[in-house]
Amino acid sequence: MIEYAIIIPLVFAIFLPLLDAKKAAIVSAISFLIPMFISLLNILTFASYEVFIENFGAPIGEFYLLVDPVSNAFGFTICLVSAMVAIYSLPYMKHRFEEMVHSKEITNVEREFKKYWFLYNVYAASMLLLVYSGNFLLLYIFLELSLIASFLLIYYYGYGNRQWVGILYFVWTHIAGVLALLGFLIVAFESQTLAINNISKISFLAWLLIFLGMLVKLPGFGAHIWLPWAHAEAPTPVSALLSPLTVGLAGYVLFRVYTIDPSFIIAYRDLILAFGIFSSVYAGLSVFKQKDYKRLLAYSTVSQMGYVLIALCVGSAGLLGLIIQYMSHAFGKSILFMTAGALIATYGLRDLRKMGGLHEYVPTISNAALLGFATLSGVLTIGMLGEFFILVGVAELYKLNLAVIAAISLVFILSGLYSFYTMKVIYYGKPAQLERPKISRLLDAPLYFIAFFSVAFLFPPLSTALIEGINYVLGGVMP
């Protein structure tokens, strides 16, 4: 059933420009809610099958849709966040367009909304289709499609020097995508197919290229420098998809490649783990120095994506952790970006130095931010399971190696510290001199909807089914 449902957002994208902004928001949200509930159902029923599309012969192989608990988990996350951000977009982008009309960058709000909704749905839908793609070429195509749509959204509606930022974002991620493509091509040459279920071996060179590409996209230390620009200057609803969903998809790709042939990671495990830890700690420390709320969140994303690298290195428990980490980060970070956006929409505030005690004026936003940070730092939410399985993996492979324990602890401690440090700086303390605003319900209600799932996924029956399903995909090798 999901195979039809995931087409809905893409099909709706064509019709959205025909509707007025408000109706389009509802329709867009519905187009993601339908696949969301179906994927949730799939998670609960452990749905696992393949849907044949077309066979292109060697070396491309078969295009098919891959439905299994892992793609359902990713698909559910993408749908949930996309649906909620769609609703949130309505008041936020209205504010943004009015601002742009005011500065004479655009002339007509309604017309921009038409463009926006089309691009938005294409963007989110391509990510959704990506995780169900059963062929690396198909997967790559959706990767690039999501890239171009998100690039245009930044290019048209971003903040600051948005055209420069847009191109910067495009260039980096394009390199990432094409490097991965090169890797896939080598796979195609060697296996005569790119269908995930038919590949049995991935050679060193192919792995290296895919890994490097995904390292840029993820991003790891060094290549991470594009992310704060892109995620901070994108219009906030786009940030709320970019940061939670898009970059993590690199983790998804690596996961799929790993399950086919883990040789590369096994061979360079220590190195990659060290790099992941360093990357995460580095970015985690960077968070403290940020003066811009969205930039701060962007660095936190880099730090969290370090978890993904770590998780990749630590065996099957780690892979379980990787998937849950993707979900938890997506939930938490989308909430947080939306809180940042709410502050921008109500006060035009993004400078941390001008904030303080904002709980006084925007309690609902502040509480949502708390839930978001709790998810990031693994307190009482699904994030806890993610951290747990990563730690299980670490303990499994590195036993009681003191250096590794200390390093990995530092990684997780930093997340908790910057989370609550940010809470203190922005929402606690002496209130800044501001008015209590009237906040549109659409700016805060979606956040709580996501937060609900973030908490619910810690408890049965959701967590039970999720873990059982993923464990099944991983072949049930667990302690």
């Binding site: 292109f56 012969g57 491309i60 070429l137 790559y140 195509i141 690039e144 499609l145 890239l147 171009i148 245009l152 290019y155 055209q163 847009g166 191109i167 495009f170 260039v171 394009h174 390199i175 094409v178 490097l179 493509l181 090169l182 091509l185 080598i186 195609a188 040459f189 060179l205």
Partner: protein, 404 residues
């Protein structure tokens, strides 16, 4: 036999068309279009059809040229080039190939000078280069055929490289690209769009045919030199375009880069069955370049909708599933399998470097839609980038079916 008859009829019709142009440009146009259609119908296959579309768009864009000095003749010239190009596919006779090579490039000498006012200066520059190129190319080709009979590695390498050098000068591959930016930015956009599109096919097709017909085994080092020239051309084109503000000049550099991509396929010419992927990639890249240049040059003249200009840019950058993606895909694919991974990676880097100026082009040229013939040409050109929504396995198949 039927082919030759059609060819003869076409030529006669074109002669009549050219003659009529003294009396009425319109009759000439109609006759030229008729020739186009007859010629393409006779070879109804995907590749010729696409080349026909290139020529067709060229003719249509010439229509918009209000005051051409050669009004009437120009249509006939384009049609003539098309016929020469199409014939290449069905010929493997060396003499015929070289004759067609000359036949297809000669009309451009005249076309380059038309416009609002006759531009002799630019013509001289262009023709000088072309003569160099043609001479070297023909020399190289002749030597290659000679070498096929009497093997000598020195002659082979001399021949091969002079062919490539001739090709480089002819189509504008760095470091013999100097005429390209100058000509592209000073001549009228419409004739330039013809030179940048239709005229690029013949040199490459002939070169593919000649090289694969005369291939000997010991070519590794030569291919390496070709790969270096290709890489140089990509970099020169893309980096040169980065800081260029004038869109026509930018497109000139973009052509240099694109020709570099196509030249890169020659590095894979010895890769066994993957040679078909290489040639298919090269030809598809020529199509991307052709439709893209037609689209962009025409939109420089009249503007276009932003959707079209973004579509063109995205295709040039190589966004799937547009045509530009598949062409690069096939090129990279063949390079990877002929052990030119470094060249493939350089190509990736280049497509990244090119992003800023293509985005700039999309922004500059997408000024707004006007319902006139030039705009429709742009629209068709950009929509053609979408024909690869279905993965173009056909291009590899049709390349395989042809005799090389």
């Amino acid at each position: 036999m039927a082919d030759q008859v059609i060819f003869l009829i076409s030529l006669v019709t074109l002669a009549i068309a050219a003659a009529f142009s003294y009396w009425s440009a319109r009759i000439s146009m109609i006759l030229s279009l008729a020739v186009l259609i007859v010629a393409s119908l006779s070879y109804f296959k995907m590749l010729p059809t696409l080349i026909f579309l290139v020529a067709f768009l060229n003719v249509l864009s010439l229509l918009a040229l209000k005051s051409s000095q050669l009004k009437g003749i120009d249509y006939a010239l384009v049609s003539f080039m098309l016929i020469a190009t199409l014939l290449i596919f069905y010929t493997s006779d060396p003499a015929m190939l070289l004759a067609l090579f000359v036949a297809a490039s000669a009309p451009t000498y005249i076309l380059i000078m038309i416009g609002e006012r006759m531009n002799i200066d630019i013509g001289v520059k262009y023709i000088t280069f072309m003569i160099f190129g043609t001479v070297l190319f023909i020399l190289g080709a002749a030597l290659l055929y000679y070498n096929f009979e009497h093997r000598s590695s020195l002659i082979y390498s001399l021949a091969m490289l002079s062919l490539i050098t001739g090709l480089a000068i002819e189509v504008g591959i760095a470091p013999a690209h100097e005429w390209v930016p100058d000509v592209f930015s000073t001549a009228d956009p419409v004739p330039v769009s013809i030179i940048a599109s239709l005229a690029k096919f013949v040199p490459f097709l002939v070169a593919y045919k000649v090289i694969s017909a005369t291939a000997v085994s010991e070519t590794q080092q030569l291919l390496f030199l070709i790969a270096i020239i290709a890489a140089l051309s990509m970099f020169v084109g893309n980096i040169g375009a980065l800081t260029t503000k004038d869109p026509a000049r930018t497109l000139g550099y973009s052509t240099v880069a694109n020709m570099g991509y196509v030249l890169a396929t020659f590095a894979a010419i010895n890769a066994g069955e993957y040679v078909y992927f290489a040639i298919a990639g090269g030809i598809l890249q020529l199509f991307v370049n052709a439709f893209g240049k037609i689209g962009f040059f025409n939109s420089i003249k009249e503007g276009t909708s932003s959707t079209c200009s973004w579509l063109l840019s995205a295709s040039f950058i190589g966004i799937p599933p547009l045509m530009g993606f598949w062409s690069k895909f096939l090129i990279i694919y063949s390079l990877v399998f002929s052990n030119y991974l470094w060249l493939a990676i350089l190509l990736v880097l280049n497509s990244a470097i090119s992003v800023p100026y293509y985005v700039r082009l999309a922004r500059i040229t997408g000024k707004g839609w006007k319902p006139n013939i030039t705009n429709y040409v742009v629209l068709v050109a950009s929509l053609l980038m979408l024909i690869t929504l279905i993965p173009p396995t056909w291009i590899v198949e049709s390349v395989m079916q042809l005799r090389w």
